[in-house]
């Protein structure tokens, strides 16, 4: 968990830093302009990263009932 939780920084870097490199229309990705496609990709990745963090976080293990 300790190391994995740092994955959560990636979307910040990807979205805020990435726009410097993908602020253009072409190439189109699945019909979307590159900038929009990049942001959509990071929404999907954000969800995936949070899922990884959730399932490796010991705080989310099922509670043992006495």
């Amino acid at each position: 968990m300790t190391l994995i939780k740092w994955l959560a920084l990636l979307p910040f870097i990807g979205m805020l830093g990435g726009v410097f490199f993908v602020n253009q229309v072409t190439p189109y990705v699945l019909g979307l302009p590159l900038l929009l496609a990049w942001i959509v990709l990071w929404l999907l990745l954000t969800s995936a990263i949070m899922a990884v963090i959730y399932f490796t976080d010991p705080a989310n293990r099922p509670e043992r009932r006495p």
Binding site: L30, G31, V40, S47, A59
Partner: protein, 489 residues
């Protein structure tokens, strides 16, 4: 006519759901404001999403894409980043609120900083920010009903009817009504937005790719962030600011308290970024409208979705779209009313009358709902600003609570109550000054590099807030030490 019948039916369904949400509950204040802290993942999800998918999303999101193009994408980003933060931010807030049986956002600050004064300030900030938010919903409601009913019901009449409905079920069922109506709202809005966002580009352009190519050809540069103005620097600073302010809204804060356990938030942190994708389809509608209903300017850009729908679809379908639109106003509106009533009764009235009986505060909170609603109607019928501008000002106000909130969650809070109060006051004063004088970095520092001049000016307020908070804390800590710590429980 059929459009009108469907909109009326949806509204009545909301009214019925809202009223029956009370069933079997003894509505004390804790039930009314935070649902007895018994909501599971789904209801909390809907409440958190209920605040996000408002008329702002429906009309403002498509209008923003229509009028400004790529800068609208910032809305996709800030939500996702805010949900990441929520994974670590919300559980400690929820735990603390549960331990101390808190029911409102100011309660949290009062406890953490052991300062009723701070509670009053936070309550006032909340009310000042909530009113424009509510006005925004009512404005949207008026636009939606008058357009979707083909003018049969005027905007003013629609606003009055909406207000009566939402006030009635909020007074009866409180936040339970919000949760129940959020269920049909999200189902309907999901269906409508996905349909519109897929159908309109296909119908008018033959696909997403051809649509964007046509827009790029007609308006070069529209699908990227511009060199100056709403540039990359603007984008990044605005995304960060709004992500921080996300959970500082008093009604969002209140919906944190409704959760049954803290895992609810961590689970939602996975799902909500995906749910953001609905906004993508809202943008598609705005983009589709650019070449099909051109010429909307100023506040009228918020009409792009409805204008295109009316031009494209038969009345019954327009009615369903209108009904979904009405719900996007009623659900957040109901949460704002619950929160505003609670802030006024629990945090302002009780601050003046500390010995007030629980039952009286509870009754007063409910009686204040129509008062708040009337104030909002008055502002709605007078005001003239566009939807996004209004929301941004409220956002700047609540974001000023973030530094003191974050500090209070630290193991040893370095911020004193004087520091928190001074920081928030300076931050709010800066926001007010900036909003009223319309200054930007561009007008302040015309000689500095362009990227700096494009930064969101809200950063100044937050920075001033932070610096004052740290300085005053340093001074008062030395003066007051050793102060007995507030009793830990």
């Amino acid at each position: 006519m059929s459009a009108l019948v469907i909109i009326a039916a949806v509204t009545l369904l909301a009214l019925w759901l809202g009223i029956q949400a009370r069933r079997g509950r003894d509505m004390n204040l804790e039930q009314w404001t935070v649902g007895g802290r018994g909501f599971g993942t789904l209801l909390v999800f809907l409440l958190l999403a209920g605040e996000i998918y408002t008329t702002f999303t429906f009309l403002g999101g498509s209008g923003f894409a229509y009028g400004k193009g790529a800068p609208a994408f910032y809305i996709l980003c800030y939500g996702a980043l805010a949900y990441i933060i929520s994974y670590w931010l919300l559980p400690p807030i929820w735990r603390y609120a549960k331990t101390h049986r808190l029911i409102s956002q100011p309660d949290f600050f009062v406890r953490k900083y052991d300062s009723p004064t701070l509670g009053v300030i936070v309550a006032l900030v909340g009310i000042v920010a909530l009113i424009p938010y509510l006005v925004l919903q009512l404005k949207g409601l008026g636009i939606i009903v008058s357009t979707a009913s083909y003018g049969a019901i005027g905007s003013t009449a629609a606003i009055w009817m909406g207000v009566v409905v939402v006030t009635a079920y909020v007074m009866i069922s409180g936040v339970r009504a919000s949760a129940w109506t959020a269920v049909i709202k999200d189902v309907l809005i999901l269906a409508v937005v996905l349909f519109l966002g897929v159908y309109l580009p296909l119908h008018y352009y033959g696909g997403f790719g051809p649509m964007f190519q046509a827009i790029d050809a007609a308006k070069p540069g529209f699908l990227v962030l511009p060199e100056k103005g709403q540039s990359i620097a603007w984008f990044d600073s605005t995304v960060l600011l709004t992500a921080l302010g996300f959970f500082c809204w008093p009604h969002s804060f209140g919906s944190i308290y409704t959760a049954r356990d803290e895992r609810v938030f961590r689970r939602n942190a996975i799902i909500l970024p995906l749910y953001q994708l609905i906004l993508l389809f809202v943008f598609f509608v705005g983009f589709a409208a650019i070449l099909k209903t051109p010429g909307l300017k100023g506040p009228a850009i918020d009409l792009s979705l409805l204008k295109l729908s009316v031009a494209t679809f038969p009345p019954w379908l327009v009615g369903i779209i209108g009904g979904a639109g009405v719900l996007t106003a009623l659900v957040p509106g109901s949460m704002i009313l619950v929160t505003a009533g609670t802030l006024l009764a629990n945090n302002l009235y009780r601050a003046v009358q500390p010995g007030a009986a629980e039952a009286n505060v509870s009754l007063l909170a409910r009686l204040l709902v129509p008062v708040v609603a009337l104030v909002a109607v008055a502002f709605t019928l007078r005001g003239g600003e566009t939807i996004v501008a209004l929301l941004l000002m409220g956002y700047s106000f609540v974001t000023q609570l973030f530094p003191a909130l974050l500090a209070s969650l630290m193991e040893r809070n370095p911020v004193t109550r004087e520091g928190a109060i001074a920081g928030i006051l300076v931050g709010e004063a800066t926001v007010a000054l900036i909003s009223l004088s319309h200054v930007t970095f561009d007008t302040l520092f015309p000689m500095l590099p362009q990227w700096f001049r494009d930064l969101n000016v809200g950063i100044v307020a937050l920075a001033a807030n932070f610096v004052v908070m740290v300085l005053v804390s340093a001074v008062t800590q030395r003066a007051a030490a050793p102060r007995p710590a507030a009793p830990r429980q």
